[in-house]
């Protein structure tokens, strides 16, 4: 059991790239510190200790708490229904429930507000962000639930436990790390979001940061305020690592569970399908219907389908390069966190999360700051744009890779070791192949998010480079929604592909497979 023990030595060829990944994730922090203190330390305290700062912290906290809680309920509920109910077309339902990920929150917020203007404010922002984010909980929880061994529940039932007790004491306890991991990504996203809260006119902390740039022309104030967000992110990351507990360190291998065959009462089925339909109506129906209705509006322009296709190509290229780079950089971090649990690997892994709470403009400006000084030949070229995107999406990829490796049994590596394979050979020939579905999921997650991304793309893109997101921005600034329509629709369709792949891979990696070895009765460490 060497692998699950704490204080394991992270092998060299893993530790060095993992540290490099953490350094990349810290680029914004370097910028923030230099810029924040550019007007002296006293100025830093003056900017932070203003009454308004704390009002906004409270608003952000409230929104983050509500959206995260709602995402946990919706995500876990959706995962429960799609894995443990005997429903027709469960796989399709899971894929459909994941699709709201393909819709950028700035777009769905605008769709809602133009349809129901009275929604503006806290609840509008909460609704839009919850439906944009709950798949972050849904996917890992669905994967974990699928990977559970039904034999355990049968044993519990035979010991006289009620279904409620089994659900709360046995099942939820085992999927808790997946819930908290998803919840962390949701919370960080909500902290960083500007598009949705701006459209909904709910004033959160990102307002003052954008305001400091756009209206105050004061990058040092923006940097100081951003450090408050980074601190909040650090607290969340630490809280999550406490809440995750040690259950994540060891799991039942996926090879031991057998196929779950359970029945569901008709009433429960109808209720579940009704719930799914409601979620899809809110998360997919409203934004898609809105975008399609825009296309019927008056316009001075004919739709240039060739331009739409060019934007599709540009979006896809940026997304693909970002996905490849992010996965390569995230892989050593994910392997180290999953297989070499130690303080070192934990610190490195957590470091990659912190910048995820920063709004896109801060990431963009920090990459500008570093790029124009150190990477001048790449300035306003694709490599720097990709770098900015990597910084944002690294934690999504790390989480997907770590989750997937944790769900495979470390026995395989132990066997490889016992057969004389070296550390690196084991990683290359056993761990990485085991992680392939997770690597695929990480790539799909990064690809779809990079294609939706707007603020960083806008500032870092090569001159003349026009993605679907920047085209949507371009036409919406002149209020030409008829022209926005085709780009918005194309973006949702394009992003839907990796989203569908993502949910497919989630199912694949957790598919219970019949196995010849005897059923293990080992309980998870918790």
């Amino acid at each position: 059991m060497l692998i699950a023990r704490r204080h394991v030595r992270v092998p060299w060829p893993l530790a060095v790239p993992a540290v490099a990944a953490a350094v990349i994730a810290l680029i914004p922090l370097v910028y923030l510190v230099v810029e924040a203190f550019s007007r002296g330390a006293a100025n830093v305290w003056d900017e932070i200790f203003q009454a308004r700062t704390w009002d906004l912290v409270r608003n952000s906290f409230l929104l983050t708490a509500v959206v995260t809680a709602a995402s946990v309920v919706l995500g876990t509920g959706g995962a429960w229904v799609t894995t443990r109910f005997a429903l027709p077309g469960k796989t399709l339902i899971l894929v459909l429930l994941t699709l709201p990920l393909a819709i950028p929150s700035y777009l769905s917020a605008f769709a809602w507000i133009s349809w129901q203007p009275q929604l503006a404010g806290f609840w509008g922002a909460a609704i839009v962000l919850t439906f944009a984010c709950f798949p972050y909980v849904l996917l890992p929880v669905a994967a974990a639930l699928r990977g559970l061994d039904p034999a355990q529940e049968e044993v519990a039932r035979s010991l006289g436990k009620t279904p409620q007790q089994i659900a709360s004491e046995l099942v939820l306890r085992q999927v808790r790390p997946s819930i908290t991991a998803g919840a962390l990504l949701v919370a960080l996203y909500v902290l960083s979001d500007f598009g949705a809260v701006a459209a909904m006119r709910y004033e959160t902390f990102t307002w003052v940061i954008y305001g400091a740039y756009r209206a105050g022309f004061n990058p040092s104030r923006a940097a100081i305020l951003s450090m408050v967000l980074v601190s909040a992110a650090a607290v969340l990351v630490i809280l999550e690592s406490r809440a995750r507990g040690r259950a994540g360190a060891s799991r039942l291998g996926s090879g031991v569970a057998r196929v779950d065959r359970r029945t569901t009462r008709v009433g429960a089925k109808i209720a579940a399908l009704g719930g799914v339909a409601a979620v899809l109506g809110v998360g997919l129906g409203v934004p898609v219907a809105s975008v399609i209705s825009w296309m019927g509006r008056d316009t001075q322009r004919d739709v240039q389908w060739s331009e739409v296709m060019t934007a599709v190509g540009d979006s896809f290229i940026v997304g693909l390069l970002t996905a490849i780079a992010t996965v390569l950089i995230a892989l050593p971090v994910g392997i180290a966190a999953a297989r070499y649990a130690s303080r070192f690997s934990s610190v490195v892994e957590r470091t990659t999360y912190v910048s995820h709470a920063l709004p896109g403009i801060v990431i963009a400006i920090s990459v500008v700051f570093v790029g124009i000084r150190l990477l001048r030949p790449w300035y306003q070229e694709l490599p720097l744009l990709v770098l900015g995107q990597v910084v944002i999406f690294l934690p999504l990829a790390v989480a997907a890779i770590r989750n997937s490796i944790e769900q495979s049994s470390p026995r395989m590596e132990e066997v490889a070791h016992s057969l004389g394979a070296g550390t690196m050979a084991t990683i290359l020939r056993v761990t990485i192949p085991l992680a392939l579905p997770g690597i695929g999921a990480a790539a799909a997650m990064t690809l779809l998010n990079a294609m939706k991304e707007l603020p960083t793309t806008l500032l870092l893109r090569p001159t003349g480079w026009e993605t679907l997101a920047t085209s949507i921005w371009k036409y919406s600034t002149v209020s030409d929604y008829a022209a926005v329509g085709p780009y918005a629709l194309a973006l949702m369709l394009l992003a839907a592909l990796p989203t569908a792949v993502l949910s497919g891979l989630t199912l694949l990696r957790s598919q219970p497979r019949p196995h010849h070895s005897p059923v293990t009765t080992e309980a998870p460490l918790s």
Partner: protein
């Protein structure tokens, strides 16, 4: 374990140190396109806070006529100003084309603009250019009250007339729009913080209807959802151009008499001091202020031309007739304080 850790940690520290050190000194790099002698040629990079859709045609026309290529980076004016401030002298930008005077003032304050020649500055009324001679307005836009004549019979002479309870629930506005916020900033400059707060509280008490964009305000007025709205003058003419005069019932009302409600703000340009092709950038500034450039804005964006001898589009009140309030447009950069005030009186957020 320590032994395993030392090198990666050291490597990380070294990398961070390099980044931080590099941040302190910046290295300029020069384009090869510079040619300051004789005819301006080569390529210039334009950061444009004005929508690409609006300015691309005139920039393309400039390139066709002069052979000077333009690399256009469009974005939000404020964000581009922040970008310029972060890039400093190393910026690849040669010219900043801003949607409003506030962002130009911020770049000027950072000392990043070169001085414009007197011949350029003197083309434009001093009210519509920098007092320090680093940026110049290229087109003007007036704040107006757009109204639906079927719903409004008596037009107020001043924005103060809108505080009358008879207007309750009848006025549309776009709370997040930069031009609305510039108007409120002008109100603060002209009437002081207390005067502005008093007007805004009265305005808020009349339950104005918030829309996401100026164009939405205009459409709501035209459709009769609200009786009137506070927006810029050209939105009406855009709609007439798109849908024909018959489809548009709404009309513009100017407050005149130096009322804050008739503020005239400008879009403008400045040349970056770090430009490596300032001759070509200057050629573009001159082009935008030529009869061709000014007629373009007048005819396609329905904005006010700012040089002598080019008339505004048909039906517009002239700038002299509007008699806008006297204000240093550079003072309009305290928009952040405006946003705080608007949030405070409940007109910005919900």
């Amino acid at each position: 374990m320590m032994k395993t850790l030392r090198l990666p940690v050291f490597a990380a520290a070294a990398l961070l140190a390099t980044v931080a050190l590099g941040a302190c000194g910046s290295n300029d790099s020069a384009d090869t396109s510079a040619d300051t002698s004789g005819e301006a040629t080569g390529t210039i990079t334009v950061y444009s806070g004005r929508s690409e859709e609006l300015v691309k045609p005139i920039l393309d026309q400039f390139s066709d006529e002069t052979g000077i290529e333009i690399e256009l980076r469009a974005g939000d004016s404020g964000e581009l100003a922040a970008l310029l401030l972060t890039e400093g002298d190393a910026s690849p930008a040669d010219l900043f084309f801003s949607q409003d005077a506030g962002a130009l003032g911020a770049v000027e304050d950072a000392g990043l603009f070169a001085d414009l020649p007197e011949a350029t500055l003197s083309l434009v009324d001093p009210a519509y250019r920098s007092a320090n001679g680093t940026w110049v307005g290229t087109s003007g836009r007036a704040r107006v009250m757009i109204y639906n004549p079927e719903l409004v019979t008596e037009l107020p002479e001043s924005i103060d007339g809108l505080l009358d309870p008879s207007w309750s629930g009848k006025i549309g506005y776009a709370p997040t729009n930069a031009s609305w916020q510039s108007f409120v900033t002008a109100l603060r400059v002209l009437r002081g913080e207390e005067g502005a707060r008093t007007w805004l509280e009265g305005f808020a008490a009349n339950k104005p209807v918030a829309y996401e964009k100026n164009a939405a305000v205009r459409d709501a007025v035209n459709a009769g959802e609200v009786a009137a709205g506070l927006i810029n003058h050209y939105y009406l003419y855009e709609k007439i151009a798109a849908e024909g005069a018959d489809a548009v019932v709404a009309k513009n009302h100017y407050f005149t008499n130096q009322d804050p409600g008739s503020l005239v703000n400008v879009a403008g340009v400045g040349i970056l001091a770090g430009s490596d092709n300032s001759a070509a950038a200057q050629a573009l500034v001159d082009y935008l202020l030529s009869k061709t450039g000014q007629s373009f804005f007048s005819e396609t964006t329905f904005e006010y031309p700012l040089i002598e001898g080019v008339a505004p589009t048909d039906g517009l009140k002239t700038l002299e007739e509007i008699d806008p309030p006297t204000i240093d447009l550079s003072d309009l950069k305290s928009i952040e304080a405006t946003q705080e005030l608007l949030a405070d009186v409940g007109l910005l957020t919900k």
